[in-house]
Symmetry: C2
Subunit: 232 residues, 2 copies
Amino acid sequence: MNQYTLLPYSQRPEGEFGGNGMISERTIGRMSLYRRMLVDLEEQGVQKVFSHELAAKAWVTASQVRRDIMSLGCSGSPVHGYGVEELIGSISAFLDAPKPEAVVLVGVGNLGRAILSHFSGRRPNLMIVAAFDSDPQKVNRTISGCPCYGTDELPRFAAQHGIRMGIVTVPASAAQAMADLLVRSGIRGILNFAPARLRAPANVYIEQVDMTMSLEKVAYFARQASQREALR
Amino acid sequence: MNQYTLLPYSQRPEGEFGGNGMISERTIGRMSLYRRMLVDLEEQGVQKVFSHELAAKAWVTASQVRRDIMSLGCSGSPVHGYGVEELIGSISAFLDAPKPEAVVLVGVGNLGRAILSHFSGRRPNLMIVAAFDSDPQKVNRTISGCPCYGTDELPRFAAQHGIRMGIVTVPASAAQAMADLLVRSGIRGILNFAPARLRAPANVYIEQVDMTMSLEKVAYFARQASQREALR
DNA sequence: GCCTGTGAAGCTATTCACAGCT
DNA sequence: AGCTGTGAATAGCTTCACAGGC
């Protein structure tokens, strides 16, 4: 048994993500979702919103919305609902760091470049400030407005800029090595697009985005749906 | 209340995805994961595997692995574990359609192109056979080995080729319209990368890949981790 | 009437724990 | 001794249902 062995919930190091009394991982995800919807509403000039309206947009139940908002410590009026601006403020105060945060990306392939351009200029408080790649052809260039360096410069760069988050878009074969490098560089959260389960010490949060798994899930359920229809 | 209103579990149209007696959505995802790991093992010449070995690779518990395999109707020997090849066969028989399936992609932007090249030639039984875009500049070209057509040709193409799955990589503002188009074209499963909650009739399965939400989750938990450390 | 806030109930997913086997 | 298969227990998440308010 090494540091990476999965422990049962009860034995995991105290304060595991989403654990005891804290707000759950699922709820955090929905907060992000609600905020996006609320920002849309605000742009449309809407000032008040009912839980069932937000629920319809987010494709969850109204109870769920009320629970989530409750866990924020926010409250609404039975007559007018929740204040859109106030809610955005509360969610942001809860989700975001006090200052904008810098993020690095490792692996400047097709997917890496797509993600660079996807996030470039999007979130002002979550910015990809540098990309890293082991291919000498790619370093010391600017890609989608983002400077690209060699992976050997990552530890120094991360320390210098106090980076806490990294995005991994290297091939599966290199993913674990890059994750280890990120962890050694002081990173505390990794968003991984490589089709490999990364392991890291318990104090590093890892979010897996597994497109192959997602596509296979869709394939399975699409087939189920077709078959059910054929039965009727 | 329209066709898109979210119903409580108990009232949803019978045979909802993952419902009654069926194998759960989570389990399906893990099947895909296990298979990938098993294929790796097979390539390394490994013939037998214990639940705890697979569990360590997939980053889940051994109980979980045994349960999942049980739900496949597969069984192993207490002495040697599970047969790698046999397990791959059972998972594939369960997950895959009898024949290779064709998939379309809508939205040939940066992300669309990245996904085209990501999946091109990868899964032999899940192939993106065509891409669609409303930009006339992009149509009638080949991108990453995949022909690109105008979105107006989608219904005909889908009907002709019996397409059941679509990948959406258009901007959020166009996503719902494209989902509607896919549904009208007979699609039964959508993998959506746009930061918008798509709605579709209950017989269409939708998998959301929300990169912004994922990144914000990572940001939140990375910050939590740092703060916990600072407390010590 | 129609909303919020929330305790209680219900449901699902995961893990425990151990019989059974070799 | 060490594994699988699985009923039972537990944990976690979502929804119900209703009091309280305007």
